[in-house]
C-alpha cells in the first residue's frame, strides 16, 4: 500500500477535500439561515469564454450562474451537484482513485416516491454518464480544482517515444528504448519529471497508425524529435504532457492531423483548449503549437508552392465535405485564435472547395515520402499554418 501513503498524495487529498468541504459548508450555512441554498458557479457558456490574446489562452470570463435549489428548473442539477461533491469528498478521505465512470456508478441510484394517489414515481439521480461528467466539471469550476487534483483518474491513450528519459513514480524510463512499442502516458502527467532530453521538436500525430509507421521508420531518431500520438481527440494527460515539453524544455510543437475541420479542432484543443472546458486551458493548452498539416495548399498547391498531390491522386483521395464539416468549419472560423490571415485563408479554401483529406492519404503515397520528404520539408520551410 506504499502508493496510498506517499506524501505528495496525502497532501493533494487534504488540499482538495478541504476546498470541497468549505464550499458546501457555505451552502449549509445558507440553509441554516433560512436562505435559499444557492451555488454560484462560473458560467461555462461560449458567451462567457474569453480568448486572452496576450497569453493566447481561452479562459473563463467573469459571468456566473446562480444555481438555486428552489428554482424548479435547477433543482435536479443542484441535487446532482451536492451528491457528486459528497462522493468525491468521500473518495478523497478514503484514499481512493475513482474514475469518472466509478463516480457515475457510485452516485447512480433510483429515487422512488409515492404520491397521494398511491402512484409510484421513479427517477434516477442520473441516467447517463454524460450527466454525471457534466456535474464533475461544474464541481471543478466551482472549486477551482481540476479533476486530477481531486485524484480522479481517466482513460488514457496517449503514447510517446523519443530521445529522452523521464522519471515517473520511483522509476526512470528511457523513451528511446521502447523497441517497436511505446510509452503510454500516465493519467497524472504533472508527476513526471523530464531527464536528459535530446530533441529539437515535438511532433504530435493525431493518428496512432501513422505514429506506428513513423516510429517504425525511425523518424524520431533521424530528426531528433519527441514523437507523440493522441490517438484521436487528445485526452487531458496528453495535452498536459505536450504543454510541459513545450514550456519546460522549450521545444517547438508541431501538430499533424487530417486536413479537415475535425483535424483543425484537434489542433485547436492542443493549442487553446476546448470551449466547454476553458477553465482548464491555463494548465493544459500549448498556445504556441503549430499546425504542420495537412493543409489545403499541401493538397492543391498555391501561388508559391507545388502541391504534394497530383491531380489524379487528388481525385482519388479527396473526400467531399459533409454538411457537418461545413457547419464545424463555420464555427471554427469564428474562434478568435483562428482569426489570422493564414487560418482565414485555409478555412475559406476549404469552404470553397468543400474537400477534405485524411493524413493516411499522404502516407499512401509511400512511407518514405511521408517520413523523409513531406514532414521534414514542411518543418524546414516553416510551412505551417499559424
Amino acid at each position: 500500500m506504499s502508493e496510498f501513503q506517499s506524501k505528495v498524495d496525502k497532501e493533494a487529498r487534504q488540499r482538495a477535500s478541504r476546498a470541497l468541504r468549505d464550499k458546501f459548508l457555505e451552502v449549509l450555512r445558507q440553509i441554516e439561515n433560512n436562505e435559499p441554498p444557492v451555488l454560484v458557479i462560473p458560467k461555462r457558456t461560449l458567451a462567457n469564454t474569453v480568448y486572452d490574446n496576450t497569453r493566447k489562452l481561452l479562459l473563463l470570463g467573469v459571468g456566473q450562474l446562480r444555481r438555486s435549489f428552489l428554482d424548479l428548473n435547477e433543482a435536479k442539477r443542484f441535487m446532482q451537484t451536492t451528491l457528486m461533491a459528497s462522493i468525491i469528498y468521500d473518495a478523497l478521505i478514503n484514499d481512493e482513485y475513482p474514475t469518472i465512470r466509478d463516480l457515475y456508478y457510485r452516485g447512480k441510484h433510483s429515487i422512488i416516491i409515492k404520491d397521494n394517489k398511491g402512484k409510484t414515481h421513479e427517477e434516477n439521480t442520473w441516467d447517463e454518464q454524460k450527466e454525471s461528467d457534466s456535474v464533475i466539471i461544474d464541481i471543478e469550476v466551482l472549486t477551482s480544482l481540476l479533476r486530477e487534483e481531486m485524484l480522479i483518474l481517466s482513460k488514457e491513450k496517449g503514447k510517446v517515444v523519443g530521445e529522452m528519459r523521464v522519471r515517473s513514480g520511483n522509476d526512470v524510463i528511457d523513451l528511446s528504448k521502447m523497441g517497436h512499442g511505446a510509452y503510454s502516458i500516465e493519467p497524472t502527467p504533472d508527476l513526471i519529471e523530464f531527464l536528459d532530453v535530446n530533441a529539437e521538436f515535438v511532433l504530435v500525430v493525431e493518428k496512432d497508425a501513422v505514429f506506428q509507421q513513423l516510429h517504425r521508420a525511425g523518424f524520431w531518431k533521424q530528426y531528433k524529435c519527441i514523437l507523440v500520438t493522441s490517438a484521436g481527440q487528445p485526452d487531458r494527460a496528453t495535452r498536459r504532457f505536450v504543454r510541459r515539453l513545450h514550456e519546460e524544455i522549450k521545444l517547438p510543437v508541431y501538430i499533424l492531423t487530417d486536413a479537415d475541420p475535425y483535424g483543425w479542432y484537434i489542433y485547436s484543443v492542443f493549442r487553446i483548449g476546448s470551449i466547454s472546458l476553458s477553465y482548464e486551458s491555463e494548465r493544459l493548452a500549448t498556445p504556441n503549437a503549430k499546425f504542420l498539416g495537412v493543409s489545403m495548399s499541401d493538397i492543391f498547391g498555391s501561388a508559391s508552392k507545388k502541391p504534394y498531390l497530383s491531380e489524379a491522386e487528388r481525385q482519388n483521395f479527396i473526400i467531399k465535405a459533409k454538411d457537418f464539416d461545413i457547419k464545424r468549419a463555420n464555427e471554427i472560423k469564428n474562434y478568435p485564435w483562428f482569426k489570422t490571415k493564414n487560418w482565414e485563408k485555409e478555412i475559406q479554401d476549404f469552404l470553397n472547395r468543400k474537400a477534405k483529406l485524411e493524413i493516411e492519404a499522404m502516407a499512401s503515397k509511400g512511407l518514405k515520402f511521408l517520413a523523409y520528404q513531406y514532414i521534414p520539408d514542411k518543418i524546414n520551410n516553416r510551412d505551417y499554418v499559424e
Binding site: 440553509i31 429515487i111 416516491i113 397521494n116
Partner: protein, 530 residues
C-alpha cells in the same frame, strides 16, 4: 346518317321514382330495408315531438318467407295520427305530403314513405296496412293501400274502422319489402342507437328478425321547443315562388305593398316602400297585374336589399345544449361532454341553427380520427360520411390548438343542423352539401365547443403540474440532505444525525416558495428511500 324517329313520352312522378328508386335511397335490397326503417321512424318522430308528445315507438321486423327475403316491417307510434280522409293520399300518392310548409321536420321531400310503398310493390304483392287515430277521434281507421303507378293515385284494397274506446291516438304501419337483413343489420342498429342519442326523450323498442328485443328507454322528459310554420323570408324567394304566393292569396285584389307587408317575414311599411322604389313598381299596383318583368325586378330587389332581418327561427326546433349533453353522456359515458347551440343564421333565405357537441375521455376508446355523429333535423346520417361538409370542417380543425395533442384520442364530435331546408346532396338524405354559411357556423360551433374542451383539459393539466412541482422538490430533498450532512459531519459514517434537521429546513423553504395548496400536496407525498 340514321333517321330513327325519336319516341317522346311522359312519366308520372310515381313512375319516375319507381324507375329511379336509387335516387331516394332504394338502390338494392340492403339499402331498401335500411331506408324503409328510416322513413318510418322519422315519420313517427315527426308525428310526436313536433306536437310535444313524448315519443313511444315500437318497431319490429320479421322475415315472412323462407324462399325470398321478404320482410314485414311494423311500426307503432303514439303520435297525432292521420285524418282518415288523407290516409290514402298520404301513403299512396307521390308528391303529396303535410311537409310542404315552411317548418323544420325530419321528412322534407314528401317522398319517403311513398318510396317505401313503391319499392314494396315492385317485388311482392301485399299492400301496405295503415291503422291510425287522431287525437280525440272516437274511431280507429284501417286501410290497405297500393299506388297506381301510371296515374300516381292510391288504390284502396280494404278499409275498416273500429271504436276507439281507450282514446288511443297514433299510427301503426305495416309494410312488406324485399330486403337483406344480414347486410343491413349493422347500419339499422347504428341508426336506431344514434337516433336515440339525439332524442333522449324518446322510448324505442325494437324486435329484430332474429328475435332479439332492444329497448332504449327514455332518459329525460325534457323536450325541445317545437317548430312553428312561418311565412317565407324575402331573401329566399324566386320569381316562381312569388307567382305561387300570389296565386294562393286569400285576399283578392290586394295592392303590391300590402302583399309585401303581409305575405313575407319581416317586411314593414318602410322596407316595402324601399323594395318598390328599387324595382320601380307603383305601390298601388294590384299584385295580380304585375308583369313578368316587374316580378323579375321585384325578385332582384329582394335579393339585393341588404337590410332584412335574419329569417325567423320560429320554424326551427333545435335540441338544446342540455339534451345534447344528456345524449352524449348516456351513450358514451365520457369524462367530459359539452354542447353548443348557435344562434340562428340563414342561407338563401332558409333559417338554420347549428349545434355541436364534444365528448372526451372516459369510456371512449382512442381513435385515429374523431368519431363523428352527424345529424340533420334530428335524424342521424350514416352513409357517405366523408362527402359531408361536416367531415370537411371536423378534419380541417386544428385539434392541437384545443388541447388534443396527438391522435389516437378518445374524442367524439357531434353536429346537428336544423333548417326548414337541409341542403342534402341527394334525396337519399345521406350527406350535406358545402354551403358556405353552414360551413362557417359548423366551424364556429365546433370551435366554441372545442374551446370549452381546451379549458377543461388545461385546468386538468394545471392541477397535475402543481402536483408534479411538489413531487420534484420532495424527490430531491433527501439526496441533498444526505450529501450536505456528509460535509457537515466531515465523514459519511457520522452524517446520519444531521440529515433530518437539513431536511426540515429545506421543507420550510419550499413551503414558503409554494402556496398552501401546494404545501398540502407536499405533505401528502410519501418519499420512499431506496
Amino acid at each position: 346518317m340514321s333517321t330513327t324517329k325519336e319516341k317522346f313520352s311522359s312519366l308520372s312522378p310515381a313512375e319516375f321514382f319507381k324507375r329511379n328508386a336509387e335516387l331516394v335511397g332504394f338502390s338494392n335490397p340492403t339499402k331498401a330495408l335500411y331506408q324503409s326503417v328510416r322513413e318510418l321512424v322519422e315519420n313517427s318522430l315527426d308525428a310526436t315531438d313536433i306536437h310535444l308528445i313524448l315519443p313511444n315507438i315500437k318497431l319490429s321486423i320479421n322475415r315472412i318467407e323462407s324462399e325470398q327475403e321478404i320482410y314485414k316491417i311494423t311500426i307503432e307510434d303514439n303520435g297525432i295520427g292521420i285524418p282518415q280522409s288523407v290516409i290514402p293520399n298520404a301513403f299512396a300518392r307521390v308528391l303529396y305530403s303535410s311537409k310542404y310548409v315552411i317548418r323544420q321536420s325530419r321528412g322534407m321531400y314528401g317522398l319517403g314513405v311513398k318510396a317505401v310503398v313503391l319499392y314494396s310493390q315492385m317485388y311482392q304483392e301485399r299492400p301496405i296496412e295503415v291503422i291510425s287515430s287522431t287525437i280525440g277521434s272516437k274511431r280507429i281507421y284501417g286501410f290497405k293501400l297500393k299506388i297506381d303507378i301510371n296515374k300516381n293515385e292510391p288504390i284502396i284494397y280494404g278499409r275498416y274502422s273500429i271504436e276507439n274506446s281507450a282514446n288511443w291516438h297514433g299510427t301503426i304501419v305495416t309494410v312488406y319489402i324485399l330486403g337483406d337483413w344480414s347486410k343491413s343489420k349493422q347500419r339499422i342498429y347504428e341508426y336506431i342507437k344514434r337516433t336515440h342519442v339525439i332524442t333522449p326523450y324518446a322510448d324505442f323498442t325494437f324486435l329484430d328478425p332474429e328475435g332479439k328485443i332492444t329497448h332504449l328507454p327514455r332518459i329525460t322528459n325534457k323536450m325541445p321547443k317545437p317548430p312553428q310554420e312561418v311565412k317565407p323570408h324575402p331573401y329566399g324567394v324566386d320569381i316562381e315562388l312569388i307567382k305561387q304566393i300570389i296565386a294562393n292569396m286569400r285576399k283578392k285584389g290586394a295592392d303590391v305593398k300590402w302583399f309585401l307587408m303581409n305575405e313575407f317575414q319581416g317586411i314593414g311599411e318602410k322596407t316595402a316602400q324601399e323594395l318598390l322604389n328599387m324595382s320601380g313598381i307603383n305601390e298601388k299596383k294590384k299584385v295580380e297585374r304585375l308583369t313578368e318583368e316587374e316580378l323579375s325586378k321585384l325578385t332582384e330587389a329582394m335579393k339585393n336589399y341588404a337590410k332584412f332581418r335574419s329569417p325567423s327561427a320560429d320554424a326551427l326546433s333545435s335540441i338544446g345544449e342540455e339534451l345534447i349533453e344528456i345524449g352524449l353522456r348516456s351513450s358514451f359515458n365520457p369524462e367530459f361532454a359539452v354542447a353548443v347551440t348557435r344562434n340562428p343564421e340563414a342561407y338563401q333565405g332558409h333559417p338554420f341553427i347549428v349545434e355541436a357537441g364534444i365528448a372526451y375521455g372516459g369510456n371512449i376508446l382512442p381513435v385515429e380520427e374523431p368519431i363523428v355523429l352527424r345529424y340533420a333535423n334530428k335524424i342521424p346520417l350514416i352513409y357517405d360520411e366523408k362527402a359531408d361538409v361536416v367531415w370537411k370542417v371536423v378534419s380541417e380543425l386544428d385539434w392541437k390548438r384545443y388541447g388534443i395533442d396527438t391522435f389516437p384520442a378518445p374524442l367524439v364530435v357531434m353536429t346537428h343542423i336544423c333548417s326548414t331546408k337541409i341542403p342534402y346532396k341527394s334525396a337519399g338524405k345521406e350527406s350535406i352539401a358545402d354551403v358556405e354559411e353552414i360551413e362557417k357556423e359548423l366551424k364556429n360551433g365546433l370551435m366554441e365547443a372545442a374551446r370549452r374542451l381546451k379549458l377543461y383539459l388545461s385546468e386538468k393539466k394545471k392541477e397535475e403540474s402543481a402536483r408534479r412541482k411538489a413531487l420534484t422538490y420532495m424527490k430531491y430533498i433527501p439526496e441533498v440532505s444526505r450529501s450536505l450532512a456528509i460535509f457537515k459531519a466531515g465523514k459519511k459514517e457520522e452524517a446520519r444525525q444531521y440529515e433530518q434537521d437539513i431536511t426540515n429546513k429545506l421543507k420550510t423553504l419550499i413551503a414558503e416558495r409554494l402556496n398552501m395548496k401546494d404545501l398540502q400536496l407536499l405533505e401528502e407525498v410519501k418519499v420512499e428511500a431506496v
